[in-house]
């Protein structure tokens, strides 16, 4: 049985429990920003190259055309496009040069595979040569027959 002092406490506890059960599911929410930030746009723009400039990525290109492309990226981000989808769109519209790297298809694979193959081949050659025992040269094996030693030198050696 509850004592008279604990009854108000119980009511307070129950009240708090009810309040907490109502308040708990409510989490702070912020309004979703429909406009992607400059940083978000530039993160993708920096990976795409201006198709009408030389070696200039879209994030630093000062041309009006580049501004249009950045605006387009912003629109696409706002519509929920992924980074991959945006890149694919730009490649489909303006060609492979905007991606800044050769597409991984066809003969382009040579560009990706050749360097590691050459390095591995060179390493294998090096290892194979290091493992091979040093060949004995005739000069090293028999000193008196060495053609490099002049006859008078040989004579002097015998005297000594």
């Amino acid at each position: 049985m509850l004592d008279p002092i604990s009854a108000p406490k119980l009511r307070l506890i129950l009240l708090l429990a009810v309040l907490l059960s109502v308040v708990q599911p409510v989490r702070p929410t912020w309004a979703q920003d429909p406009t992607p930030s400059d940083d978000e746009v530039n993160r993708i723009a920096s990976q795409l190259y201006c198709p009408i400039c030389d070696n200039l990525s879209l994030d630093v290109c000062p041309l009006e055309a580049c501004q249009q492309w950045r605006d387009l990226i912003r629109e696409q981000l706002a519509q929920g496009w992924t980074e991959r989808e945006i890149k694919d769109y730009f490649i489909a519209q303006y060609g492979d040069q905007v991606s800044g790297e050769p597409p991984r298809r066809g003969l382009n694979w040579v560009l990706y595979l050749a360097p590691p193959i050459i390095v591995l081949g060179a390493f294998a050659l090096l290892v194979a040569n290091l493992k091979r025992p040093a060949r004995q040269t005739p000069a090293a094996s028999s000193e008196p027959d060495s053609p490099e030693i002049e006859p008078d030198h040989q004579a002097r050696r015998k005297v000594n």
């Binding site: 198709p51 009408i52 041309l63 009006e64 055309a65 249009q68 492309w69 605006d71 387009l72 490649i91 489909a92 519209q93 303006y94 060609g95 492979d96 040069q97 003969l107 382009n108 040579v110 560009l111 050749a114 193959i117 050459i118 081949g121 060179a122 294998a124 050659l125 194979a128 005739p138 028999s142 008196p144 027959d145 053609p147 040989q154």
Partner: protein, 193 residues
């Protein structure tokens, strides 16, 4: 008495390592493949009198036009962009010429094709609306058309004769309607001969 050297210099051919042959062959294959790739990428510039490769243009209205289907007509191909300031100057002349040279009955006309070079679709559509352009225009997807014509900047205009051979090329904007008209008349006269 010391024995005279009886060891003759070795006459055996130098042994070539299998590794060396494999490495040499590998490098050779890589170089050949890279060469093929370079040749594939090397688009030859279009020359007057020669027929450039045909292309398809999907216009902003959804129509697909293939230049191979336009034989028998003079074709004007104009590369433009919404961000190009000098394109504005000639837009009115081009539209005026299009209105003037459209096919009229049996009379030989001129087909105009506008190719949006490195442009965004929304900006291109706005440009066409602002300048009242009514001839077929579409984007240069993957830059394939500008690569055929080796376009490096806009505006550039090419006029093909009825056989599909290039007869006129203008780098930069037309300064007047009469300049554009005289270019077209020259190609039309050539095509009628």
């Amino acid at each position: 008495m010391p024995e005279a050297s009886s060891q003759a210099p070795s006459t055996q051919p130098k042994r070539v390592s299998l590794w060396a042959i494999a490495a040499f062959t590998g490098v050779l294959v890589v170089l050949v493949l890279m060469g093929i790739r370079l040749v594939q990428n090397d688009a030859t510039p279009v020359r007057l009198g020669e027929a450039p490769k045909d292309f398809s243009l999907r216009t902003y209205t959804g129509e697909v036009i293939n230049t191979a289907d336009l034989r028998g007509q003079v074709v004007l191909i104009n590369f433009w962009a919404s961000w190009c300031t000098t394109c504005d100057q000639e837009a009115a002349f081009l539209e005026q010429a299009w209105q003037h040279y459209q096919l009229e009955g049996e009379k030989q006309g001129v087909i105009f094709l506008g190719v949006a070079y490195m442009d965004t679709e929304s900006a291109s559509r706005a440009y066409l609306a602002d300048h009242g352009v009514t001839y077929p225009s579409g984007p240069d997807l993957r830059s394939e058309i500008s690569r055929i014509y080796q376009v490096k900047a806009v505006p550039e205009t090419f006029i093909l004769d009825a056989e599909g051979a290039l007869r006129y090329q203008k780098i930069g904007a037309f300064g007047s309607f009469s300049e554009l008209q005289s270019a077209l008349e020259g190609v039309l006269a050539f095509s009628l001969d």
